[in-house]
């Protein structure tokens, strides 16, 4: 079994339901996120478009975070999920530095690394990840990539040529795919990040783990 994710960006409407569901399900502390939806506006008024991109751990086949972790706190599960053992983590932040997708954070409460686990605890009980359940338009497609009859496999086959991953040049072989994405969605260097991009405040960076 090789679990994977696919987000159809044609369907995503940026409601952030997945973001909130993830926060609640995994009790993600304030100022940290396992899953977030980034808005990028493209074009010049009046010819403009807003794009929405849910960003989470890519559960790479060749995960830099797993490789750099000195104590195997980050490890592969048999179903392909890159999981984390917070009791073992020493908080060296090597994984945060290694992840090309910025998907790992230091939990300010436990002072250990944390990230999306595809809701491994729910998977173990044969439930879908919280973000999949919350999505009102079924933009999140989750399933077994090894099973040709799974929804995700069918989706990938149907959209052959249009399925993308983030930063393929890094050689991480992500198990997280996007359909309908462009450079502005998937490449952080393709968009400007100006001060005040947050809706509710002007905080653009936060201290890692709440200190240092």
């Amino acid at each position: 079994m090789q679990l994977g994710f696919l987000v159809d960006l044609h369907l995503c409407m940026g409601c952030k339901g997945c973001e909130i569901a993830c926060k609640v399900e995994n009790e993600v502390p304030l100022s940290t996120w396992r899953l977030r939806v980034k808005y990028v506006d493209v074009g010049t008024f009046p010819e403009t478009k807003r794009t929405f991109t849910p960003l989470r751990c890519n559960h790479c086949e060749n995960a830099p975070c797993e490789r750099i972790c000195p104590v195997s706190a980050l490890h592969y599960l048999d179903n392909g999920i890159v999981n984390i053992d917070k009791e073992r983590c020493i908080g060296c932040a090597g994984c945060v530095m290694a992840c090309p997708y910025g998907a790992i954070y230091i939990d300010p409460q436990t002072q250990t690394a944390d990230k999306c686990t595809y809701c491994a605890h729910r998977i173990a009980s044969s439930m879908m990840p919280a973000c999949v359940v919350a999505c009102p338009v079924q933009a999140n497609i989750f399933g077994d990539l090894d099973d040709p009859k799974s929804n995700i496999s069918k989706y990938i086959m149907k959209n052959q040529g249009g399925v993308q991953v983030r930063k393929p040049e890094k050689g991480t072989n992500p198990h997280h795919f996007y359909v309908g994405g462009g450079n502005v969605n998937l490449n952080p260097l393709a968009s400007q990040r100006v001060d005040g991009h947050q809706l509710f405040n002007k905080i653009t960076t936060l201290p890692v783990g709440g200190h240092h």
């Binding site: 808005y39 990028v40 750099i68 000195p70 090597g94 530095m97 910025g102 952080p188 260097l189 968009s191």
Partner: protein
Amino acid sequence: MAAHEILAATNAIVTLDVALPGTVWPWLVTVNMWAKSIGTGVIFMLFLLLKKYPDQAGKLRFPTTIVSIIFIHIFLLFTLADLHQPFRMWHIFFYPHLTSAITVGAWMATVFVGLLFLLAFLSFIKKDDAAFDKVLVWVVALAVPVTLYTAALMSQCTARELWQMPTESAQMIFAALLSGSAFMILVFGGKLSWEANRSMSNILALSAFMSFILYMSEYVFGPMKAEEVAAVLEYIKGDGPYTVMFWLGQWIAYLLPILLIVLSRSSKSASILKLAAILALVGLFLVKHVWLMIPQLLPMS
């Protein structure tokens, strides 16, 4: 914001996102790298001096070992201080993951410290120079990977394109040679002949020159190789946040010491050499700090 090119036709702007994490590895890691460079560098220099100037260097066996022990412990202390869970450090030894440069480095540094204490024992308690010199060969051999493992760690940071192998390895080794020779000139220069001081200054100047070439090569040619490197190097170009510190570092660590060493050739001035050594040690900290910080400024997602 990185000053990378945005197509005017696209004009893509992030309009809503969460706050991203700030600096992940702070100045504590700079101290870590800087202190380790000195800790291993002085061992390289002691070995060299014992081979070339055994009569003068004999009395440096114990003090150099103590200097190395002190700086390796500064390195270890700051490594520990940087951990968010420092009391779990023992996990590295009981749950080791050997693909990680952190694990391998921690094991090697531990053995290195043990050997340094053995050297101290042989020189201070046993006063056995022959045994000291035999063990020193192994300590020097181990000092090489202990110096290099941080480069391996940085290259394992797949997200940070700027930190590449083998450039990082070369930079680490040159940093150890530079800081080791500078420290020997500064602290033990008075106990050595002008010839021995000159040998140390040659190593200092050469390693400074090679390091400068490496940084300039990255500065000029790095942006031609990868989009990420180009974006990162914008932080040290123009009015970038680290431009001043970068050039200060290059001048203080490399260019000024080279000039001063050349100047000292005619005057045979030990004071000029000491000034070059101080500048090299201070400048190295700046150079290391800039190179550590700038890739962390770039948003990863």
